[in-house]
Amino acid sequence: MAPETSGAAAAEFPVLPVGLTGAADRTAERAAAAPAETPLDPAVLSAPEKRRLERRGKLLTGACVFVVMGAVAALIVSVAWQGLAAFLADGVDPVAFLTGAVWAPHAGEAAYGAAPMILGSLAVTALSCAFALPVSVACAIYAVEVSPSFGSRVFRPVMELLAGVPSVVFGLLGLTVVIPLVADATGTTGYGILAGAVVLAFMVFPTITSLTMDTLKAVPQSYREAALGLGLTRWQAICGAVLPAALPGILTALVMGMARAFGESLAVQMVVGNAAAVPSGLVGPAATLTSVLTMGMANEAPGTPAAHALWALALVLLVMSLVFVGIVHWIGKRAEDRHGTA
């Protein structure tokens, strides 16, 4: 395939052969000519050296990718293995596990009903996002559509800072600010789903807001210009043109927020009250999947049925987070099918 290459041509295009088929026959010439060509730059490599370097680089970086993928696979298999052991080895009925209302791994007759935790997790997630979403969308609209200077100078940095606040600090704020407020308002201890949801609302707020702002920014300027050019007011342009176009992105932001809320552990655990019973109301001690995992794993010896039951909770958590990823993909794909753009 490669034509015969003269020495002169090889000198003119000294490194062209790399990566081309049929380069091997040129390699010898290239290597022979190398000392004459390279004194200007000692770093220039001969073709075989280059090929070796390329192979080594590919191997090295490929190994990194392999390690990352292996770790993820190991993580999923490990959680699934130990979680499924509760059903396969210890004979816990999966349906009873998901619907049972009593969680008592250490009672005389151990009961593994995860419904209280699953309901608790769903409740704090739904409530926190219900609190955060309207505020998030309003803030994003103001910061992107109405006052971009305030948005980029003040609001965006504040969101970035808030997103970086560690979850234990939110938990601490929950203990010192939210719990007393809820306790005063309801005449209870304050611990419970409501407090957890308020704390989580603060945590998912920056997530939903930042993603919504990105989505709004991605709406083509021509939409706004067309709407304003038709004589609409800015508010009508936002409601009639920008928001509908941004809807898939806002839904994605919401689901990402829900995923964060569902998987958050310490902040919720600090304020939720930690009583594994079916929640009877918004106040009063409750539990979530993450809070039971956080509290329980220290007390169980690995390999016991009680530990397996906890791993089954972790499996539920894992499956739910995969479901959230799936929903995000589905929304993205649907939007793409509809508009022909990502």
């Binding site: 990194c64 309003a138 970086g164 609409l232 998987g263 552990s265 310490l266």
Partner: protein
């Protein structure tokens, strides 16, 4: 369609329905009123939310500032049943754990990002890796922590240790790090990469000599920002790095001694874990003061990370583009 209807409602009325100009004016007036009320309302919500957040976080920092500025608190040993405990070991542990985590995760993420952008940007491996990374980033950190406990603490026999914690944090940190480095590499103009390859550089050389230098500012910014996330993480650590902080003896260089600060096989409670633990146990007499002080130190460190990320990114950019 909604747009068209909207348009008809507002604009078509004066011409089409001249017999009812009053109605048309009312419609326009209503639209104008909605415009003012709507945008103002958004503004009120946005400014209020910003103020509430700033107030809450600010109040916590102010509340803890007295402790956080006290040298004895910053260097002292924690107390369980007495007042006046410090956070010396926790402060050191947080930074040491962060450094070890970064030593593991940055090269790994860099390698993975280079492979995914330079060697195999498309194809089955890339899409599998993308899915894996996305999955990892969506996993709750408590699950990552429990996996770390199974594999590193029990499986590898490292016990509750800095190394176990750093490995768990690496898993927690990798997705965001790979993504930022990938974005940084992809944001280098394609022409630069093409030119390097056309000059006969191998991909490896092009990456190291052309792409990485010009992507460095963005990579450094991303690494520092991810460091902030790692610094505040607790859920992945309580079952990997442990919840105890042995008193450290900085004159001890015996790497197997539990009091040696540099020993990676000793348990190491961090600042974030400390806040969680003392509040869960609730036995420390001056709990509120110690919690607020620790939180203030944590937040101040994060602020420094944030400012450093901006500053370092800008500085590097200036230096690397002017030379």
């Amino acid at each position: 369609m909604a747009l068209l209807e909207e348009f008809n409602k507002v604009a078509a009325v004066p011409g089409v329905a001249p017999e009812a100009p009053l109605l048309a004016d009312k419609g326009i007036a209503r639209a104008r009123l909605a415009n003012v009320v709507g945008t103002r309302a958004m503004g009120v919500v946005c400014v209020t939310a910003t103020a509430v957040i700033a107030l809450l976080v600010g109040a916590l920092v102010v509340q803890g500032s007295e402790k956080a500025l006290d040298w004895g608190f910053l260097t002292g040993a924690p107390q369980q049943f007495l007042e006046g405990g410090g956070i010396g070991p926790e402060l050191f542990n947080s930074f040491y754990l962060l450094v070890i985590t970064m030593l593991i995760s940055v090269p790994l993420a860099l390698g993975a990002a280079v492979f995914l952008t330079q060697y195999a940007p498309q194809g089955r491996v890339a899409s599998a890796a993308k899915t894996a990374i996305e999955t990892l980033s969506s996993l709750p950190s408590v699950v990552v922590g429990l996996f770390g406990m199974t594999v590193f603490v029990i499986g590898a026999g490292w016990g509750f240790s800095i190394l176990s914690g750093a490995c768990a944090l690496t898993l927690f940190n990798l997705p965001i790090l790979v993504r930022t480095i990938q974005q940084a590499l992809e944001s280098v103009p394609r022409s630069q990469r093409d030119a390097a390859l056309a000059l006969g550089l191998t991909r490896w050389e092009a990456t190291w000599r052309v792409l990485l230098p010009s992507a460095t500012p963005a990579i450094v910014t991303g690494v520092i920002l991810s460091a902030g996330r790692v610094f505040g993480e607790a859920a992945a650590l309580i079952y990997t790095a442990g919840q105890t902080a042995p008193v450290l003896d900085f004159s001890c260089l015996d790497l197997s001694s539990p009091t040696c600060p540099w020993n990676v096989f000793r348990p190491a409670e961090t600042l974030a874990v400390h806040i969680w633990k003392i509040n869960s146990e609730g036995v420390v007499p001056d709990l509120a003061a110690v919690s607020a002080g620790t939180a203030a130190v944590l937040l101040a460190s994060l602020l420094v990370f944030n400012l450093l990320a901006r500053f370092a990114g800008k500085l590097l950019e200036k230096r690397m583009t002017s030379s």
